[in-house]
């Protein structure tokens, strides 16, 4: 696995020059990326860098100020009509950061999974629907016999996030956008939840956008990683290369800030100077250049 898509593979979803302005503020500046079947792209950046704006554009919560989104050969940047939006949304599903807020506390797990099936797959009989719900729960490593009748408050955060994933999978999406799916979970269970995302992506051929501020977890989910800073992608390439040989100063800063066992804070390893320097120097747009095959880095023009 070198992180590069197979030669000739066609992206499931493609963003070209995607931009979003809120008044004078540019939240996303001309982003280019492609999502491929069975593979994940990690979009890594700090709060306010534009990564969630990206998710909102791809899911049509926001309409782009400029640029294009292509899906199944069509430009879906501006969708007209309820049916077109419904079709697009069943192809592009999302899992949110907060597993507590994303589920309705008054309803059981069964309700949460039956509803999307009833809405998007009306052809299923009641018995088929019940089987589909059981199958979805098993796919996310939950036991239907125990989980079906539970309400959100009777489950842990990780179990709730698994239910959210099952809900997204219910409509057989081609694309899954996961916005910080483990950042509100205990560090100790993040890996096992990420494993489930990674396995399902491969088994079902889903194209995944994994949004996170924790670059350390990108390696466990995503073949490719794009680092975004102040609305601009500053580095993009195979995940192992981006983590092991980072070229952009901001990528280096992000990597240095990841908590690591065995390097106590102290004189000599303070990050504050590097952080100040990066914030100061990164305001110039610059251009993306390919440094090794598939590895793009933004250089000051």
């Amino acid at each position: 696995m070198n992180g590069l898509p197979e030669f000739g593979a066609r992206p499931v979803l493609e963003a070209r020059g995607l931009s979003m302005h809120f008044g004078a503020f540019c939240a996303l500046d001309s982003a280019d990326f492609s999502l491929y079947s069975g593979r994940a792209l990690a979009l890594v950046g700090e709060s306010g860098s534009g990564k969630s704006t990206c998710a909102k554009l791809l899911t049509h919560v926001l309409t782009a100020s400029a640029g294009h989104i292509f899906h199944a050969g069509r430009d879906v940047t501006k969708l007209r009509g309820r049916q077109a939006l419904l079709n697009y949304r069943s192809a592009v599903q999302m899992v949110f950061q907060d597993p507590f807020a994303a589920l309705n506390p008054a309803h059981t797990v069964e309700h949460h999974l039956t509803r999307p099936l009833a809405l998007h797959r009306p052809d299923l009989s009641t018995a088929q629907r019940r089987d589909a719900v059981d199958e979805l729960l098993r796919a996310v490593d939950l036991d239907p016999a125990i989980t079906l009748r539970k309400h959100p408050h009777e489950m842990s955060g990780g179990q709730r996030q698994r239910v959210n994933l099952a809900r997204a999978l219910a409509v057989n999406p081609a694309v899954l956008i996961a916005d910080e799916p483990t950042s509100m979970l205990d560090v100790s269970i993040r890996l096992s939840v990420l494993d489930t995302f990674r396995d399902l992506k491969r088994e079902r051929g889903i194209a995944m956008l994994y949004i996170t501020h924790d670059i350390a977890t990108a390696r466990y989910v995503a073949e490719e990683t794009a680092v975004i800073f102040r609305g601009r992608i500053v580095e993009r390439g195979p995940t192992a290369q981006v983590i092991d040989s980072p070229r952009h100063a901001y990528t280096r800063l992000l990597l240095a800030a990841v908590p690591e066992v065995g390097s106590p804070f102290g004189a000599g390893n303070s990050l504050a100077p590097l952080a100040a320097q990066v914030r100061e120097s990164c305001d110039r747009p610059g251009t993306l250049r390919e440094v090794t095959p598939g590895h793009w880095v933004r250089f000051a023009a």
Partner: protein, 276 residues
């Protein structure tokens, strides 16, 4: 280090539930020396926050302290009542919680919130309050001329800095920090904790640091403790605990952290969650 500033002995905290009492903290004992940073780690529901809340006397029913003692700098913390308790809190011990956005009042200027706190502790001269507020903001890297802004005009990291400045205002002996950086991204988290580390050397306060992030705890703390189902199962220095964890649970907890640069052949542990 020096003799303990905080002594917790056989602390027990129970929660009243419809099915009777549930013991959330079971006979927990530890000391913190003056100026020391002690970390308590554990998964959700392990009792780590309950310990922190009990020490700050912030626990509310259905939580009840049912046994043990807490002594901070000669004060029997569990005996404090009413006015005495209110004066003690913030002067001797202050608290920084996870969500800065919830700790600051959104409709009051930052300066007004500092003034509230100072007035509650007998500092009432207007000029004195503004001087002290300016000094405190400066100390945590925020320009004093922003003291009359509202909380929403600051970023999450800056709001957390403001909360930390407020927690240090009366020069407490112990600052309890319950997941102070969990809502922040890694770069801001690192900058903030570096700042706290520098300040505690300068001002000499001790810190009880509650987190679920073992790697972060090992970087920031002098000693670390691990909690499991209400018990403190291990307590030592970060180096010792990584090199020779005494408990199998601790070993698995360390091995569950996704490393940035995995070593070939290294096995990562996938922890099973304990349902709530």
């Amino acid at each position: 280090m020096t003799e303990p500033i905080l002594s917790v002995r056989d602390l027990c905290v129970d929660y009243a539930t419809p099915n009777g009492l549930t013991r959330a903290v079971k006979n927990v004992s530890f000391d913190i020396s003056a100026g020391e940073v002690l970390g308590l780690a554990g998964e959700s529901g392990s009792g780590k926050s309950t310990v922190a809340f009990a020490i700050a006397r912030l626990h509310r029913p259905p939580a009840f302290i049912t046994g043990g003692s807490i002594n901070l700098a000669g004060t029997d913390v569990l005996a404090l009542q009413g006015r005495e308790l209110r004066a003690w809190r913030w002067r001797d011990l202050s608290v920084v919680l996870q969500s800065a956005m919830n700790a600051l009042n959104p409709v009051l200027r930052v300066s007004a919130q500092f003034a509230d706190m100072f007035k509650a502790h007998g500092i009432t001269t207007k000029a004195d309050i503004r001087d002290r507020t300016a000094d405190l903001l400066q100390m945590v890297g925020i320009k004093p001329d922003r003291m009359d802004d509202y909380p929403h005009q600051f970023s999450g990291g800056m709001r957390q800095r403001i909360v930390i400045a407020m927690a240090l205002a009366l020069r407490p002996k112990l600052v309890v920090m319950d997941e102070p950086t969990t809502a922040l991204d890694v770069v801001v988290q690192r900058e903030l904790l570096e700042e706290v580390a520098a300040l505690r050397h300068k001002l000499g306060f001790a810190v009880l640091f509650i987190t679920h992030d073992l790697a972060l705890m090992s970087q920031f703390c002098d000693r670390v403790g691990v909690m499991l189902r209400g018990q403190l199962i291990e307590l030592s220095t970060p180096t010792a605990m990584v090199a020779e964890p005494q408990q199998d649970y601790t070993r698995r907890l360390w091995a569950s952290i996704p490393p940035l640069h995995p070593k070939p052949g290294e096995t990562l542990v996938r922890m099973k969650e304990t349902p709530q």
